[in-house]
């Protein structure tokens, strides 16, 4: 009955069939959702951060709820890139899921190793470099908060792979635009923003940190205004596309990010409360576009200047 709407967006050289992706670390490897909806309908799935070797992750407790948000210090628990390529990716390919592996390392060399390993695999759409994880002792914010360091990682990965490279920005960089521009110059195809912002939660009764790692990354709706601001700033500072993340739970949230300048969005924490969240965001976006007779691509950065 209703004509199909052109939902696709261009993220650099990649055309995503729609702008709704899942955020790294909040959707497993894209295989846990089979029963809830068909993940292949999404614009893409960013996997849990992959490292060269498997990682067990941090000691519990790892998560704590805060006002309209949560802290996490998972510590990048993951199966390792090898197991991902051998055990997860084949299934994802078979299911036609658009896969964007999120990769994490503590050295430039390991970033390169990860990129090179994934470059050999069919069925990978782009790589997302996590240079902004706040929950690891090394290699997290060090890379993401310093323009030169972020550029170094980007350049090295760029050289090691033919895949599009997305670099994930930390909200803790003093000058995020400088980091973004440095990555752009170093060959990034897109920026994703934002990763979590470090916070702590305290149990006043026990007088203890609520999270074993002490600090954790804040995610969820609490973060949305900050994420929107950073996406807005970044999208005006660079020419490459910016992918928006932070507190997106509804289609309306996603539209706000597109208006602020994002070319696509990622749904993160919202999937915890509602495993259908990414799918609902997509459906809602489509309805909005029909109602307002507009395409997602036309929404990008189309905020009236006031």
């Amino acid at each position: 009955m209703t004509r199909a709407l052109e939902l696709s967006v261009e993220v650099g050289s990649v055309t995503l069939k729609n702008p709704v992706l899942t955020a790294s670390g909040t959707f497993g490897y894209g295989l846990e959702h089979g029963a809830y909806f068909d993940v292949a309908e999404l614009g893409g799935v960013c996997t849990k951060g992959l490292s060269v070797e498997p990682r067990a992750g941090n000691a519990p407790p790892r998560i704590a709820e805060t006002a309209s948000g949560m802290l996490n210090a998972i510590g990048l628990a993951n199966v390792g890139v090898e197991a991902f390529c051998n055990e997860k990716l084949p299934i994802l390919r078979e299911r036609n899921v658009i896969v964007i592996p999120n990769i994490f390392a503590t050295t430039v060399e390991d970033f390169v190793r990860l990129a090179a390993r994934l470059d050999r695999e069919p069925g990978v759409t782009a790589l997302e470099l996590n240079v902004s994880c706040p929950n690891v002792a090394h290699g997290g914010l060090e890379f993401g908060c310093d323009p030169a360091a972020a550029a170094r990682v980007t350049r090295a990965v760029r050289a090691a792979t033919s895949l599009p490279v997305w670099v994930k920005m930390s909200p803790e960089a003093g000058d995020i635009r400088a980091v973004g521009r440095a990555c752009e110059e170093a060959g990034a195809d897109a920026l994703t923003a934002i990763n979590t912002l470090r916070g702590i939660a305290i149990d006043a009764e026990k007088r203890r940190f609520r999270i074993h790692n002490k600090t954790g990354g804040l995610s969820g709706p609490a973060l949305k205004p900050i994420a929107l601001r950073i996406v807005w700033e970044l999208s005006r500072a660079v020419k490459i596309p910016v992918i928006g993340i932070g507190g997106i739970a509804t289609a309306r949230d996603a539209i706000e990010f597109l208006l602020a300048g994002a070319t696509a969005v990622q749904v993160g924490t919202a999937s915890f409360a509602d495993p259908l969240a990414p799918k609902k965001v997509l459906t809602g976006l489509e309805s909005y576009c029909r109602e307002h007779d507009v395409l997602p691509r036309d929404l990008i950065g189309s905020l009236s200047p006031r």
């Binding site: 295989l31 809830y36 000691a59 519990p60 407790p61 006002a67 628990a77 999937s271």
Partner: protein, 317 residues
């Protein structure tokens, strides 16, 4: 007293399935148990039957019963009957919660079918809202989740060890065992006081019940572990085999696990851990294994072989 009931037979197959595989996390190479066999619809077959696949539904609160001491039974009206097994849980969240509380709360399934019920103890903001929520308010429910309790081996007596709100999955288990004609099920139930024993009648109706309260206001004075130890000693003396199923505070379960190990009795514990998602994607619910690495409570548990857990490591802050 401790005559071994016929018991359910374990029904874990040995073929790893894609679906199950997908649920395995990185560091779980030394997986606690072999994955269960699948039925034709791809659903795992557990000791007590084949549960529904997980689904995400909305249902209204249709009844709320306040029990003593801050416990409440909440009942939801489901459009379709739910098949869940003892030990499985639901992630639930009021549709009116907006963005705070943000995350759904895990609750053991007490009764399934068309009328899902859970036993809630007020612990914080989410449970407080549940306990005072008006009838008719709709909740989002993701269910059934997690691994249920495992099989009672042949020639073993089931001994259920409950502490406080941990009684919910054990009531469910006791009733399931009774329904299946498993004889001789014993429940040991501990609380601080007599008021601290929610659903004690249901446990009494479906098993042989012994009670311990710390203040002695009902049953034996002392901790429930006193009853466990006494029972295990008697069983040893009588030469009967016992399997423990336990749910309650971490320390209580740790003590039960320790006793089980000492007496060589198999023991399953229903773990509690903070949960973000309940279905394996946030990695927020680890419980340390003795062998190193972690179990993820929501997908490897909540019901696990107690001997695998490193009970000395904390789960909560």
């Amino acid at each position: 007293m401790l005559g071994a009931g016929p018991g359910d037979r374990g029904s874990y197959g040995d073929g790893a399935s894609e679906r199950f595989d997908a649920r395995r996390r990185g560091d779980r190479s030394a997986t606690l148990r072999r994955p269960p066999a699948l039925d034709r619809a791809g659903r795992p077959r557990y000791a007590h039957g084949v549960p529904d696949l997980g689904r995400f539904i909305s249902a209204p609160l249709v009844k709320r019963t306040a029990l003593d001491a801050g416990y409440h039974v909440l009942q939801f009206g489901l459009d379709e009957a739910l098949v869940a097994l003892p030990g499985q849980f639901v992630m639930m969240r009021g549709e009116g919660w907006g963005t705070a509380p943000l995350l759904p709360r895990p609750m053991s399934i007490l009764d399934s079918g068309r009328e899902l019920s859970v036993l809630v103890k007020v612990a914080g903001v989410g449970t407080a809202r549940m306990a005072s929520c008006p009838l008719g308010e709709r909740f989002e429910l993701l269910l059934p989740l997690g691994r249920p309790f495992g099989a009672l081996p042949a020639e073993h007596t089931a001994v259920l060890v409950a502490g406080g709100v941990g009684v919910a999955p054990l009531v469910c288990l006791a009733e399931r065992l009774a329904q299946r004609g498993t004889a001789g099920v014993v429940s040991l139930y501990g609380g601080r006081t007599a008021r601290d024993l929610p659903l004690v009648e249901r446990l009494a109706a479906s098993s042989t019940l012994e009670i311990a309260t710390e203040d002695g206001s009902r049953g034996t004075q002392g901790r429930v572990t006193v009853l466990v130890e006494r029972l295990l000693e008697r069983a040893r003396a009588e030469g009967t085999n016992v399997m423990l199923f336990t749910c309650g505070p971490h320390r209580m379960m740790a003590a039960v696990a320790e006793l089980a190990a000492r007496f060589g009795a198999p023991c399953e514990a229903s773990l509690e851990a903070p949960m973000g998602c309940g279905y394996g994607v946030c990695l927020g619910c680890p419980v340390a294994k003795k062998a190193g690495g972690y179990l993820y409570t929501c997908v490897d548990g909540p019901c696990v072989d107690a001997s695998v857990v490193d009970w000395t490591r904390e789960v909560f802050a």
